[in-house]
Symmetry: D2
Subunit: 369 residues, 4 copies
């Protein structure tokens, strides 16, 4: 399945940038939860376009309509379906693109894959717009996790290679980052960045060895966010340059609990949570849609062509991707929290869901200290 | 399922470092293939311990016994099962570790997960030894891919933060890297590194948008290799520092085929292959088992403890991980090659497996040019 | 995942009987198909309520709105989402049922499962209404299959234990069956029946041995239709009373093709198609909602209670289930047709999707001859 | 995946009738369980050939060797792998069968599927011998279930159309059944039968609506047993002939628990357990391998041929299939018991595995009363 992920909590997204609607089906969500729909809307607004100078001018309300799975404002234990109507589309902008694939976009492989039947308008199913339904699912998961004391928070680490010094939220970016975005916009160009996500409050032992591990499940989902080109955990690629003595996290006892003195592994060892904060980073490439003229080809004529991507595009999608990373991480974490580890003792099965274990993490300081 | 991966070609590994045997079941492998078992053994030997100065002294023949799926030397279209007996084990070395979890290892979360029932000997199921069955599966896949003109080759990019200048294979490492390993060994310490893997000859359009993409499937599998802490594609994290104009790959026509002038995206756009070489890198952390005394805890006494990991351990597992990365990548690629994209035209379904399309890649130069 | 099925073609249904809408997401449907939406509506009308004397009086247009996956009237290779708004609901009818579970319904186990948070109105997600989205998916699959020469057709075999003598379609039922339904209705009671489904034109070799077989996949999906209590293939339960010599199907050559002289196995051997017509039967229990007073309990008082199910209910859902069986079978068949069997010969992989092989079936006579 | 089933507990079987070994990998089995290996062997002996007059003369010890997943006699929470060596094989017996497919066997579709590369010896992967690894997995599951008060027991209902009057176990069959088998053997023919399986002690609410239901999961697995042609639950096909008032199970209160007065639904409503005994029946076709000469074809000459199947074959496999049905049912039940239903109340997630709920069933009387 290309458009679903998850094991206990299965999220399926659908829609194209210019289809009647985009949407999500969430199967396996806990029954009996009363979502705070105003808080969900506020979360969706963090991702929505048209909010800031660095974002696209396209404006969508991104107001979800819940079609199923809620009864009297409460989840009823069956698939939650929600849609967002696509309103402000200008399909005419994209006619040229069927013949001239955009560099850095999925247009060409998607045309190969579908025999040319793909919906080219606005990038179709590959559009960043599909992150809105991911945020509906993730926004609900974030609420459940927060109620249980698990907090997932992403922030921008770097824009255009410039480290972002303070723990900014979506509302703000420091001056060097703003300047880098503005310069790129002025040049008809774009910039990328790195987002870090931290989840605190997780119990130890979640995940599994080998292929069902947290790293496997998180990366599988995170690479579903358009423009993500790398995922790392804890020290990540930097670990490759360290000695073992500088990368290992010593175990300590604190308040009667086993903890790690440092958190260089980002709360994960061998696929499983350690009880320390989970720390991961994703690399977001610069927006491929740029106003600058680029070399491409005409698929019909099979000859070189020039293309200047028109339409409304973010010179930097990194700020809008911050809540998307939170959403995807939260969805995977709730899915894993609904896992159970089965043990047998005293003559009986003990299936202990991770959601019954309180998190043990205590340290939230910077990674690698 | 924690110990399986794949969709059409499902690989399941089993075994512990000191169990009677380790092994693999490969479901969905093409029928009628005559594996070159001598070449497979040579491939397994690249991963096997005890080959070089930088590797552990433990010696295992790593000679697989095929139990099923082969008939008259030919694959018969049913699950291939192969095992490797565990011979040279010294279980006594590990008794202390049940009480004192090793820093940087999965001992502690695994004990939490299993209620203390886990097999601690040699790291149990989390041992690097489990990469041997992965290499059996991957070694077979590499042979099938090579017969079809698809070549998967990994190399060491960096050891201990030192770039490895030449395209070394497993037999050789240049002097700075050797020196870094030797110095770590002398200090009772360890080092990590970065491995790059390139696959040439893939057709365009493999994979899928969103969650079934090549990046998703590859990273899900690659994080199953012990010690991997990061995965990136093409320019990867470096893309985050570039402008769009410097990260996009222009499309060109060459010999009547659509190609990219550069390959900054590592042959992947939006989850799908472009026909250019697939390029990915994985970060391997330094071996956590080090001779230096480390801080840990006694789980029984719940008090601080000291631990100097005894036994035979590689000061650097990166060279041995090179064929493992090839194996995992080859397995995922063959799985994806067995996918089909279904289209409808001229009144009929056309299911076109990617294996019927010849690869279009031509450029094999360095990434990011 | 409880609300999805399929491997290459994944169908996810959502909705409750009285939610804002019910719907379906179809992932993996062939790109480039132009569905005949009028024919689809006609198919949906065969299932829709309010058509005949034996059906419920509830009337719904059952007109799907396609939200995604279609572009210019053509499938674009991404998930197809369609919804049907729920209009004519009388939620007030069901208030009593939260406390008094209906005999023969899923009310009680669903309340246990969800901690009482389930949507009781109209049976919620367990309602027969959820077969409408299944018919949207199946109706599209039927069109693709028909274009390729594969025809799936279900018929009523028996109503209330009375064999239905002629090959009736949805428009007609013979007199004994009509009389049985009318008598049940008059008595405030209900009746069930048996539906047979035949699929012609399938190639041989589809499916797989063991757990991925056609029987496994078909039964897994068919038991998702509410009220199905049994599934059998070919001679089915009757085979258990026969000798091998009377149950085996001899192989013959006809027009240069391998065929079976009889079709007692219903076109399936060991999980795989034989090229003969696929024949299966499902048992549909009598509608559990009956006007007769029944014994139940009050869950709040934990004491005996009486219940006469009010509201509009079919005395016999069998006629309406006929297109549902066709829909589910067609969906599973198209999914399996998109499978490929991979073989290796002459130095290369040959991935041969079953959709590239023409069906070999020729005999359509009665089963068991 | 064709050779695996299960969600939390994934069972993968491998092997051919005449390969070096057959085996099973069990992923997700509870950690810390100490299997009674003598009891397991006794269970496997119920299935093993060569025990009784009605069974094949082929003798295999069917003694499993555990390769992994056990440490100090206790399951360690990682995949359990076990193999049985194939010893007493006479591969020469089967040479003719590659050209002449056996009526009623999977030889022909398997040859189509694999391009003729399939292992024809003894039926290869489609052999009934593959039920031995299923019994290893199921035998372990039966032990866990029994420790928790869940008992799974199958019995023969009918042989050759003759009802078997008493609740026989594998050791005994009443005279009419024995006579039917003996008569078939004498005639070079075979007979089939019906097996009923009852599971007591299950909690209510296990399973799920739609496609993840108990019926779906059980039937998907049960059709993996060779020769099964039908599966029904509770009244099954007989329900189709009843009125709703005669098929519904009234709810009652007994000892403070909600129970059903009758058990016509076999403990299942809408995919979920009711807390009453789970009751299902499978139809086993007569052994297709018979000594009588049959019509078949020569695939090489594409002309009619005659075949008298030589070798050692059971005239009736039904008695040996009884423990196999128990094994498969037990595996699915333990898998479902490890499911959890997630609810949210009082500001927190409550993930309640079904294994934490004691079963409520009380009535074990005949079905349909």
């Amino acid at each position: 399945m290309s458009s679903s992920f998850g094991k206990n909590l299965v999220v399926t997204v659908f829609g194209e940038s210019h289809s009647a609607a985009i949407g999500v089906v969430i199967d396996g969500f806990p029954a009996g939860f009363v979502p705070d729909l105003a808080a969900l809307q506020a979360f969706l607004d963090r991702r929505a376009p048209g909010r800031a100078a660095h974002a696209t001018a396209r404006r969508e309300a991104d107001a979800p309509e819940f079609l199923s799975g809620l009864c009297d404002g409460r989840t009823c234990g069956t698939p939650i379906a929600a849609i967002i109507r696509n309103g402000d589309t200008r399909s005419g902008d994209y006619a040229e693109l069927r013949d001239k694939p955009r560099p850095g976009h999925a247009d060409y492989p998607m045309a190969v894959r579908t025999g040319g039947a793909n919906d080219i308008r606005g990038g179709g199913h590959s559009s960043g717009r599909l992150t809105a339904p991911l945020c509906i699912a993730g926004g609900l998961c974030l609420q459940v996790l927060a109620a249980r004391g698990i907090f997932v928070r992403a922030r921008i680490c770097a824009i255009a290679g410039t480290l972002v010094g303070t723990d900014v939220d979506e509302a703000g970016l420091d001056e060097p980052a703003r300047a880098a975005i503005a310069a790129a916009r002025a040049a008809g160009d774009s910039v990328g960045g790195v987002i870090e996500c931290v989840a605190e409050g997780l119990p130890a032992g979640m995940g599994a060895p080998m292929f069902g591990g947290m790293e496997n499940r998180l990366s599988e989902a995170l690479f579903g966010i358009p423009a993500v080109k790398g995922v790392e955990f804890g020290n990540g690629f930097a670990a490759a340059a360290l000695r073992g003595s500088a990368n290992n996290d010593a175990w300590i006892i604190e308040d009667g609990r086993v903890l790690a003195k440092t958190n260089r592994h980002g709360g994960l060892l061998g696929g499983m949570t350690t009880g320390m904060p989970l720390v991961l980073r994703v690399a977001i490439k610069p927006t491929p849609s740029i106003a600058l003229e680029q070399d491409t080809v005409s698929l019909s004529a099979m000859e070189p062509a020039k293309l200047a991507v028109r339409g409304r595009h973010d010179p930097c999608i990194v700020p809008r991707a911050v809540p998307v990373v939170e959403a995807v991480v939260a969805t995977v974490l709730l899915d894993a929290l609904l896992d159970a580890s089965a043990t047998f003792a005293d003559g009986d099965i003990h299936v202990r869901p991770f959601a019954t274990r309180r998190g043990a993490s205590c340290r939230t300081g910077p990674v690698g200290v």
